[in-house]
Point group: C3
Chain length 275, copies 3
């Protein structure tokens, strides 16, 4: 009796910018396991850049779709804690997402499609029934989101009970622009630990174009081939390829595109079709 489309499997993932030197993540785990010692918790990542919603949204989009239906994803990157921003529970692809309604879940819900957004709209705009005490202003991860996620994952409350549907704060983003040659002008959305620069230009936007006809052009005039794999260039050389999520990615084999090519989030990158 879990209601429309969500049958919990006992899995809860955690994603935060809390790092690994404080007690915040541990406190959230304690709250979750106090709901039920049977929950199976899985860390996605806790070292996210502090309060960087855009980066966190990309992490959730990259990881969550791979989990099985019935999973609860708890994510707390929450620069607006204590402001008017609302908590949210969203359901998509048979999975549930719990966290602040600040754009964090926009990309992953778009990826999964068909999301239903629900939240508790008590007078304070909080996930009411799981609130402890009357003055919780600094750690909603422990005091609001973790209890909600735990109760959902344990099947003690059903998603529809959370409240009436509402509209998720969407993530504002300018999509890549189509060029006359059929190519795209996009931008770097982020870099990973290896210094690879990921763009917003997806393979699906280039349907029917053979990879050999593509070339990536950087702001400094540099041109890079679009290859299948890092191993196709010698060590130290730059290339472009379609990354593990299907977006155009710029890499330096055995090095860092971020450092070597100066590619930061927001940098303009063009994908050119050679005629």
């Amino acid at each position: 009796m879990q209601g429309r489309g969500f049958a919990p499997n006992g899995l809860v993932t955690l994603t935060t910018d809390f790092g690994s030197s404080d007690g915040y993540v541990g406190a959230m785990k304690g709250v979750l396991l106090s709901v039920s010692t049977e929950l199976r918790l899985h860390d996605l990542a806790h070292g996210l850049p502090p309060q960087d919603i855009e980066h966190a949204a990309g992490v959730l989009r990259a990881a969550c779709p791979w989990f099985p239906p019935g999973t609860v994803h708890l994510a707390v990157i929450d620069p607006g804690v204590g402001t008017a921003r609302a908590p949210v529970v969203a359901r998509a692809g048979g999975q549930v997402f719990v966290g602040p309604d600040n754009g964090l879940f926009g990309p992953v819900l778009a990826e999964l499609g068909g999301a239903t957004i629900v939240r508790r709209v008590d007078p304070q705009g909080r996930l009411g029934p799981w609130l402890r005490g009357d003055e919780i202003n600094t750690f909603h991860g422990r005091d609001i989101f973790a209890p909600a996620a735990g109760l959902l994952a344990a099947g003690r409350i059903a998603v529809p009970e959370v409240g009436p549907p509402h509209t998720l704060l969407t993530w504002e983003r300018v999509p890549p622009r189509r060029m006359d040659d059929g190519g795209l002008t996009g931008r770097v959305t982020g870099t990973d630990r290896f210094g690879n620069a990921v763009t917003d230009m997806h393979r699906a936007m280039l349907d029917g174009v053979p990879r050999a006809a593509m070339e990536v052009s950087l702001a400094d005039g540099r041109r890079l081939p679009v290859l299948r794999t890092y191993g196709e260039v010698p060590a130290g050389e730059a290339l472009a390829l379609f990354g593990s999520e299907g977006f155009v990615e710029i890499a330096v084999r055995g090095g860092s595109a971020r450092n070597r090519l100066g590619l930061r989030r927001g940098a303009v990158v063009r994908l050119v079709i050679r005629s």
Copy 2:
């Protein structure tokens, strides 16, 4: 038959300063799961500042009380490994703590109250029965503490078997000083990943004083209001509030109080009552 007050629930938490680039945490997990593959291990934090007992004690106090009774908490921040410092097993609030007796558990046991401290007092002062080999001097986390925690969590040994009660090494700390105005002079006990500075002045020490009558005064003469939440000041401004554990905390909205106000552990901070 788990003896006085501890019925294991199969959960073991791990807290260390071992970081995430070596094999030490993994070896401890292997030892725990070799006791029983059914144990459910949960990382609290492994990136604690190396050998910083005071910081680690604060992490345990922030996280462990949220776990359900029956949990075993294994913590290894152990600058004195190989010296005369003893291993310890402590029980409080239906939970059990295993690690070096160096002050690490003082604050969390005080928070939970009613702790019973037991340890094995064999001639070497070691947790004897779980010792492998005869010359283990550098990695007690793997060779002494993990086997003890695993056997306790698996219910194969009961806490009372560990040995006779003794007195835990307590954490030496000067409490905040009461001022003539009813306020407090305390100090910063640490900063978190976001640069928030936590003090030792707890809300319970200010019982009956309305928050609006409080003000925090820093050594440089700066005065901060005590508010309910970060969102009550504009971005970039400093404030004080009661943090997620009830202690006075100094923050800069969207910034770092550590960097912007120069607040480090030990910095003197006054909480003033306005008349």
Copy 3:
């Protein structure tokens, strides 16, 4: 019916150089749990130095042997992803190892002994049956190794099905050299988070020599005693000892041997026998 020598216990460990700020580890966990929500995943370490196979091999050797038989170890430190390097499945000590065949598993398999190496030798040299799609070139951890590890851990495929035995790429390393005095000339293989420098000279190579007769000699002429534990020297002083894996280790009590003595990987260290 798990075939020769491997009966899965449901445990899967994960070791990567993916860090904790991206979605890569989470995606792998999602794939594993999509094979079976019952798998119990355990992080060994994800902050390994990027693409440093030698370091990663030492981490696996330090941690994996402590796990119970039936465990699947999934490790992805894979600078050669997308090149001709093959995926590999190896079995030793009742445990199974899955990852790229780049030397990563050499030391741990040598430690466990009696390894059987098997891999799928389809025309592309890939672990064929678990491959998704037809153009997976950048994230074999998610697309090849995690499905393989999950299916092995869930008992859905047996090790022998993976393919015929072959020879693992071994880790090329010059062993320590025996000196006229019975001592050894070795080198530093790495340093840990505390700055301790671990060498390749193992206690077993010095069988029968009393520790009191040993001395460690550094390239700068400095001589260090070989003691039992860090606590035998005053704070700030250097010493040598046999570390937690039995190798000669150089440490500074309460400090960093890496920084204080300039010891880096590859530095030559001599163990001298005093007559």
